[in-house]
C-alpha cells in the first residue's frame, strides 16, 4: 500500500496511540505488540484522525511547529506506517 494524497488517513482498527507517563513517550499499541514512538512519529500519528489528508497533516504540523518544509519527512513516515499496517486510507 502506498500513499494516496487525496484520501484521509487513520489508525487501523485495533491500533491505539497512547501517552505513557512512566516512559514519558507515546506508544502505539496493537494485538500483543507495542511500539515506542519518537516525538515526530507521534505528532504525525496524532493527526491521522480519519478526516485529515496528506495536505492537512502537513499544514497542521507546520502551523503547530511554526516551520515549513516538513512534507518530505511526513510522506516518508506515512509510507512506513502504511507498509507496517499501522494506518490505512479511506476515500
Amino acid at each position: 500500500m502506498s500513499l494516496v494524497t487525496d484520501q484521509a488517513l487513520h489508525l487501523v482498527p485495533g491500533y491505539r496511540l497512547q501517552w505513557e507517563k512512566a516512559q514519558d513517550m507515546f506508544v502505539l499499541l496493537y494485538p500483543e505488540g507495542l511500539i515506542e514512538l519518537n516525538q515526530s512519529s507521534a505528532e504525525i500519528l496524532q493527526v491521522c484522525d480519519g478526516a485529515n489528508k496528506l495536505a492537512d497533516i502537513v499544514q497542521t504540523l507546520e502551523t503547530k511547529f511554526e516551520t515549513t518544509g516538513l512534507e518530505n519527512d511526513i510522506i516518508n513516515f506515512l509510507n512506513i506506517a502504511l507498509e507496517n499496517g499501522w494506518i490505512t486510507q479511506s476515500a
Partner: protein, 370 residues
C-alpha cells in the same frame, strides 16, 4: 547481586496467568507439569492490586492467559478494571467456553483483542490434540470474534503431528478472517519437554512448512500478517531471552508467584517472590529472581566473550537448565555451546521414536503424578 547498578527499565508487558484450570489437555502446554499443586489462586482483589501496581510502574500491554482464563468468574470485572487503568488488553483463549454473550460482555468491558488457538485444521486432529471435542465450536467462536469487531490473532502450535497441515491451517485462517496468524513451533518447556520425542518435527517437515509460510506471507501481504516462529532446536543459535531477563516482561502465575518468564517457576534456588508478600516494585527492582540474569556479570564461557551476547543474552536460561542442569550455561541450542550435542541428540532420538509412543496429555490426573 549480579547485574548492573542502574535502575532496571520498567516492565512494559504483564502476563496475568489467571488460572491453571483448563478444559483442554494439549500435550505441549507450557504450564508446569505439577501445576495441580498450585491451586490456591489469587482472588479478585489481589489481581486488582497486581494490575494497579504494575500499571503504575509502566506496564501497558496486558495478556490474560492461563490455563483457560474464561474459567475465571471475575474475568469481565478484571478486564473492565484493566481497561480503566489504560492497559491494552489481550485475551489468550482456547475459545472453549466462549459464547456470543460473553464476547459482547467483554467488548463492553473494554477488551481490545482476542487470540484464539486451534490445534489443527481438521476436526479429527484438533479434537485429538486438544483432548476434547472443540473444533467446530472454536470456528464458530472465531467468526463471532470478528463479527463483534475485535482484531483477532489465530494461534496454532506446530509439531510433528500437525505441521503437515500448514497449507490447510493458513486457508482456514483466511476463511475465519484472522488479522494475524501465529504459527508457533513448539517450545520444549513443561508438558512439551515431557512429550518432546513425539512432538519434534523432522528437518524435512520444517523445510516444507517454512516454504509454505513464506509463500502465504507474500500472497497475504496487507491482508493478514503471518508470524512463523522458527524452532530454535534447528537453528544453531538461540532465540533471545525475552528481550532481556527482567527488562520488559513480568508474568504472574495463578497462585501469585512473580516470574521473569512463564517457565521460570521450575528454576531451582531462584526463590521467585509472591505478590502475596511483596509489592510489584519490590519484586521488579529488588528480588533475587528478577536480578539474577540482568546485565551479563552472571555469564560463563562461551557467552562471556561472545560478540552476540547483547543480541541473545546467552539464549534461554530455562532451556539451559532443562537440558544441562545449570540455568547459567549457554543455551545448548547454540552451536558454540560445549553441550550442543544434547540438542542434536534430542533431534536424533525424536526421529527414532515410534509413532506408536503415546502422548501424555495435560490434565490434573497426569499432573498429580509429577
Amino acid at each position: 547481586m549480579a547485574g548492573s547498578l542502574k535502575a532496571p527499565s520498567p516492565p512494559r508487558w504483564l502476563l496475568a496467568e489467571l488460572t491453571y484450570a483448563c478444559p483442554l489437555q494439549c500435550p505441549y502446554c507450557s504450564n508446569p507439569l505439577d501445576y495441580a499443586n498450585f491451586s490456591d489462586e489469587l482472588n479478585t482483589e489481589e489481581w486488582k492490586r497486581v494490575l494497579k501496581q504494575s500499571r503504575d510502574m509502566g506496564a501497558v500491554q496486558l495478556g490474560f492467559s492461563g490455563g483457560e482464563p474464561l474459567v475465571r468468574k471475575d474475568l469481565v470485572e478484571l478486564v473492565d478494571y484493566s481497561h480503566e487503568l489504560g492497559y491494552y488488553t489481550n485475551l489468550i483463549t482456547s475459545g472453549y467456553n466462549m459464547d456470543e454473550a460473553k464476547i459482547i460482555e467483554l467488548k463492553e468491558a473494554g477488551l481490545d483483542h482476542i487470540q484464539i488457538s486451534l490445534q489443527a485444521s481438521s476436526q479429527e486432529l484438533n479434537d485429538f490434540i486438544a483432548g476434547a471435542e472443540s473444533f467446530e465450536h472454536k470456528k464458530v467462536v472465531a467468526k463471532l470474534i470478528k463479527k463483534h469487531g475485535y482484531p483477532m490473532v489465530l494461534c496454532v502450535v506446530l509439531h510433528r503431528q500437525n505441521i503437515h497441515q500448514m497449507k490447510d491451517i493458513l486457508e482456514m485462517a483466511i476463511e475465519l478472517g484472522a488479522d494475524f496468524v501465529e504459527l508457533a513451533n513448539t517450545q520444549y518447556y513443561g508438558w512439551a519437554h515431557h512429550n518432546r520425542d513425539q512432538l519434534m518435527p523432522t528437518q524435512e517437515q520444517l523445510n516444507t512448512a517454512e516454504a509454505i509460510a513464506n509463500e502465504y506471507q507474500e500472497s497475504q501481504k496487507g491482508k493478514m500478517k503471518i508470524y512463523y516462529v522458527v524452532p530454535d532446536f534447528f537453528e544453531g543459535r538461540p532465540k533471545a531471552c525475552m528481550n532481556g531477563w527482567g527488562t520488559t516482561f513480568l508474568t504472574i502465575a495463578p497462585d501469585g508467584l512473580a516470574l521473569p518468564c512463564h517457565s521460570a517457576r521450575q528454576l531451582p534456588n531462584f526463590d521467585c517472590p509472591s505478590v502475596r508478600d511483596h509489592s510489584i516494585s519490590e519484586i521488579w527492582n529488588e528480588s533475587k529472581a528478577f536480578n539474577y540474569f540482568r546485565g551479563d556479570d552472571w555469564m560463563k564461557e562461551p557467552c562471556r566473550s561472545c560478540p552476540d551476547k547483547d543480541k541473545d543474552f546467552g539464549g534461554c536460561h530455562c532451556q539451559a537448565f532443562l537440558l544441562t542442569g545449570d540455568a547459567a550455561n549457554a543455551d545448548p541450542v547454540c552451536n558454540l555451546s560445549p553441550q550442543h550435542h544434547l540438542v542434536t541428540d534430542a533431534i536424533d532420538q525424536a526421529a527414532a521414536t515410534s509413532s506408536e509412543k503415546p502422548l501424555v496429555f495435560r490434565n490434573s490426573k497426569n499432573s498429580k503424578t509429577f
